[in-house]
Amino acid sequence: MEKFIYLDYAATTPVRPEVVEAMMPYFTEKFGNPSSLYTEGRNARGAIEEARDRVAASIGAESREIVFTSGGTEADNFAIKGIAYANEKKGNHIITTPIEHHAVLEPCHYLRKRGFEITYLPVDEHGMVDPADVERTITGKTVLVSVMHANNEVGTIEPLSEIGKITREKGVYLHTDAVQTFGHIPVDVNELGVDLLSISAHKLYGPKGIGALYIRRGTRMEPFMQGGSQENNRRAGTHNVAGIIGFAKAVEIAEKEMVSEAKRLAELRDYLIRGILERIEDVRLNGHPTKRLPNNVNVCLVGAEGEAILLSLDMEGISSSSGSACTSGTLDPSHVLLAMGIPAEIAHSSLRLTLGSRTTKEDIDYVLDVLPPIVKRLRAMSPLGTAWGRK
């Protein structure tokens, strides 16, 4: 059998069989619309409310503080535009970071064109935000601070609870994109001190097309979709019942396995990082050395190009990701790496490997066997040769 080693769990994850099983009845026999008043509708309603309880409890929230969305991108859009539009009388200033997911950056960009002022907090060489900068940047016109819980590319975990203390004290709403952390490390809305938090099911072995936004009780928000009265008039549209059920099942399993799985993955992660640093010269580890997601490895293999590395790994049966220009769909390399002060010529050589449930030590050993010759070959093919980057 051909090798297939999936190391892009930060992009998406396979749905667990138990999750699929839990979802199946809601496509066929339990197909009722949760907004209908008769038995089938009430049953579907009951099921999604149970699911809501489960998702809420897993982040320390009340059930009515959870609004189901189509995923992380919608949750981010909802949070940012919803706060901006509902609080325009207070001010037009939003604070965020340059390393956010595009689902946060683009709504901010959109609002800027409509008269909002956006401040991008600096990050250090590890992609870490300094809470003191948040405090310094907040003005009387600030309505929202949005800082991701952990970065999807380099895995750095941001000091959210410290930022939360500041935003609480200043009376400014705090949003976090927790898409990469939820289900993998503890996420508690009160410990983090957030008012809004985005999560997505397909990053924790749930289905695609379902996510949620946590909205702290009392938060002034504009609804995201107009239409029916679903989700307390905050997000219209017939519920994705099967998706919601699958989401809750994935959360249930993640809660049980989180501690042991995070430990297992962190060990594999460190083994992979050590192996790469030992076997390949001119490598730079991107992201914080310790405050990082348990499953994230991101390195610059200086002097080779990221997409070429990715394609070469694919030919060996390994799925990976890169922040090179050629994989970002633009002519610039990853905005995250650039914001961390990494020069473009180095950022083009980035490779991200994200581990997950099916990853074994044998897989990592295989990667450590095939990656060094790939890098060697590409460097040998380069006009700059192998010594580049050592200057």
């Binding site: 190009e305 070429a308 769909g329 010529e345 093919m381 380069s382 006009p383």
Partner: protein, 125 residues
């Protein structure tokens, strides 16, 4: 997103390396953009007798470099400098739109190497 031909040239690129004491050298691109290419040629009687490339770049950059050397090898200079980016892309069964600039790089690299040869030898055509 890449054609089988592109992948084949990426897997097994033709004419990789550098000619010693070349008659012409073309160097285009820069590492900041992520693409850089160096073509060296040996010319006999106005024919590209040998051609080699070295490229730092993505799959398309490597495949277009490989293809341009394959197309140009054995060609008269006059014809070789007419190789267009479209010729290169077509020979690879097409390139994704956002990768067309890679074929520009390869065509430019070859033309620059030919230009370098001409300026050293004082011949205009």
């Amino acid at each position: 997103m890449y054609s089988e031909k592109v992948m084949e040239h990426f897997r097994d690129p033709r004419n990789v390396g550098e000619i010693e004491n070349p008659d012409g050298v073309g160097e285009v691109g820069n590492p900041t953009c992520g693409d850089m290419m160096r073509i060296t040629i040996r010319v006999r009687d106005d024919v590209i007798e040998d051609i080699k490339f070295k490229t730092l770049g993505c799959g398309a950059a490597i495949a277009t470099s490989s293809m341009v050397t394959e197309l140009a090898k054995g060609m008269r200079l006059k014809e070789a400098e007419k190789i267009s980016r479209k010729d290169i892309a077509d020979a690879l069964d097409g390139l994704p739109p956002q990768k067309m600039h890679c074929s520009v790089l390869a065509a430019d690299g070859l033309r620059e190497a030919i230009g370098d040869y001409r300026s050293k030898n004082g011949s205009e055509s």
